[in-house]
Symmetry: C2
């Protein structure tokens, strides 16, 4: 068997730990130089493969690759480019296989969420048909935590930890001034379809540190009256209230709260966040002084307070992907298998991509409290291990030292191809 | 000399480290039990003194008081209540003296910014006149960093560190997806009058980690055309740009960017932030995809990534305040005196309150780069030491363990008095 090269690409929204998976892939491949040649990375994700814009990771130092473990964002560049169905755009799939052939690539590691699992699956199928079989392994990643089968998705735990800590800190702040000042704090978090990230806000409060938190989930249709009653009750009891609102919160007709017809001086619709809208309603209905924050990218980039569970699992998924490839596996995704909640024990499993592609794992109903504004003990048991442990990056002069790679291009061999 | 009790109160917006100053005051007083009786804290700041709502800190355990060093917010409650001038509201000042007399309080430690320095100054003057002299010592605190004489203000360094790190992390995020997605990220930060906090965003980029950052200072009149040119140039060179905008950015006529006439569906003015306004302009003028975040309270409560310099100085200011009192000083404020930038060396000085009260330290012109969108090397030399070092709180199950005090009330001795 001739030694094949590997291809690795990052897909979709980046996270605080996707580079830890890249680190796992590259370090494990380097340890198996007798079986795997070079690891080429796609510049800006799958677009790099399509346009033959490959990065030679062998040009990066051991130290740089190790540094990926503590560097947020996508070191090789990522993109939101979704390949269409085989029927609609066979040319792109064929182009990928051509690229793989030209660069002697036998392993395809694709690091992403649901869409990329689907692409990965199709590539493994098509490559067989085209007579150039490629082992396609998907490396799970998504802050949305919506991939099936795996216990959780690398990237989620660190966002959850950031949101839980930020909500706790802001609640302490508001609580200490509520007698004469701000009584309601609203924090907007990511999660257009699923409330996993919003749910993490509830971890701010626990047995030892009791805090008034109200969650607005995208799974629960927004009911202004009920919501105001929930906030009022907290303010009455605690003197203040913190609200964690998912960007995906919507009305019965599906309209997002963030699109309530705000217009600027020129009459243009304003694409404001959900937080200012919720805050405005609170002032209108309850007359309470508020403050609001929108975490946006800060939440998914916050490597400085990443969850150790998350970093470990992100790395483990990258490592396992290479090991699965070396075992001859194809069209699979390594998964996190939970063995116990407390103490948290997990091991690595695998799932066939046919069962991962196009399946979205929503938050179970049993995870949302009956009133719709909190989480159940079952949800807490699930979430708590995912934010466990700290994994601080190295600092110099007060700043985290994140690596920037050299990103040396591989010489092109094929005619030009431009992604539309 | 009979042993006098001490009074301590937190004033104005709380910070990640104001409790470290409280810890310094209380621990140092406890070490000097032969000279200082009990430390009473005002519940919700000076209002607690006026309403005789005092907290007996001697009821708190050694462990709880030590825990204040790593707990954000104001553990005793704070307020934005400003005492009027002596002429306008002599009754309140007299009430304070009555309270001090009734509880045998001889030391007044007031932990706050410019306004509270002024109150502190007046109390020391009036108490003398009223024949019940109280030693009034101001403990500096403000994220705005605008107190004079002291090198910097406890609370600022930690906000600066949070903003510098968040800007770096978000820039890595945007940079890794800019080829096909978001090209501009806007982060709104505090600072209505002074650009100290916004300036900290520039620390995200340094010699080793070169990032495209554009700062919008409140000191620089907003010029949309020049601003767009600056952003365009960064996007052209780097592929993306991060913008740090102070909430206080305004037009020539003084109107804040955040008040550009946004109206909701009901025609109400929207009190939106500056970030969405700036983001909207960028889309309009440059047609670039953007994301925006508003850090709000998260920045001043972010004890999880507090600056060690800042924590150390906050504690040292509390400790020094008690030591100054023991030396018989009155109407003074301990200060941070910078001895050298690199390595950072500082010692403790003192300033008469007559020179602190009602003096605002603005950012020097020499700290803002000529184009108005960045900082000078001089500013960098000033800021860098303030974010130096990490001082992580203890964690349990993935969450920082912040203390909640018992806050036991002292028995009232005087007739009721309600603050209007």
């Amino acid at each position: 068997m001739t030694k094949k090269n590997a291809f690795y690409a990052q897909s979709g929204g980046v996270t605080a730990v996707i580079n830890a998976s890249a680190c796992g892939v590259i370090e494990t491949a380097r340890k198996n130089k007798d079986k795997i040649g070079k690891v080429y990375a796609g510049r800006n994700g799958i677009i790099g493969a399509l346009e033959e814009d490959l990065i030679d990771t062998s040009k990066e130092t051991v130290r740089s690759i190790a540094g990926l473990r503590h560097t947020p964002s996508g070191a090789f560049g990522s993109c939101r480019y979704k390949l269409k169905s085989l029927e609609a755009n066979k040319a792109e799939y064929e182009r990928l296989i051509e690229i793989f052939k030209a660069h002697n690539i036998g392993y395809f590691f694709y690091n992403g969420g649901g869409d990329s699992a689907d692409t990965c699956y199709k590539i493994s199928q098509l490559s067989k048909k085209m007579g150039y079989p490629v082992q396609a392994i998907h490396v799970p990643k998504t802050v949305d935590n919506d991939l099936p089968i795996t216990d959780n998705c690398p990237g989620f735990g660190s966002v959850a930890k950031y949101i839980a800590i930020s909500t706790r800190e802001a609640s302490f702040d508001v609580g200490s001034m509520c007698a004469t000042s701000t009584k309601v704090f609203v924090l907007e978090v990511m999660g257009r379809h699923a409330g996993w990230i919003a749910a993490a806000g509830a971890l701010a409060s626990d047995e030892k540190t009791d805090l008034p938190i109200v969650i607005l989930f995208p799974e629960v249709v927004f009911d202004r009256k009920k919501f105001m009653a929930a906030v009022s009750a907290k303010v009455k009891k605690y003197g203040y209230c913190s609200i964690v609102v998912s960007e995906g919160v919507h009305y019965k007709d599906g309209k997002f709260l963030a699109e309530t017809g705000l217009k600027d001086a020129f009459g243009h619709s304003q694409l404001g966040g959900a937080a200012p809208v919720v805050a405005g309603m609170i002032q209108e209905d309850l007359g309470l002084k508020y403050h609001w924050a929108v975490a946006d990218y800060l939440q998914r980039a916050s490597r400085h307070i990443a969850s150790k569970s998350d970093v470990d699992q992100a790395y483990a998924m990258g490592k396992a992907a290479v090991e699965l490839a070396l075992k001859g596996k194809n069209s699979v995704m390594p998964t996190v298998v939970r063995k116990s909640d407390k103490p948290y024990r997990w091991t690595i499993g695998e799932a066939p991509l046919s069962k991962v592609a196009n399946v979205e794992k929503m938050m179970p109903k049993s995870f949302i409290s009956r009133d719709g504004f909190g989480i159940t003990p079952k949800c807490r048991r699930y979430l708590e291990p995912l934010i466990k442990g700290e994994d601080y990056p190295p600092y110099k002069n007060g700043m985290p030292q994140y690596v920037k790679l050299k990103l040396v291009s591989v010489k092109k061999k094929l005619p030009e191809f431009k992604v539309k």
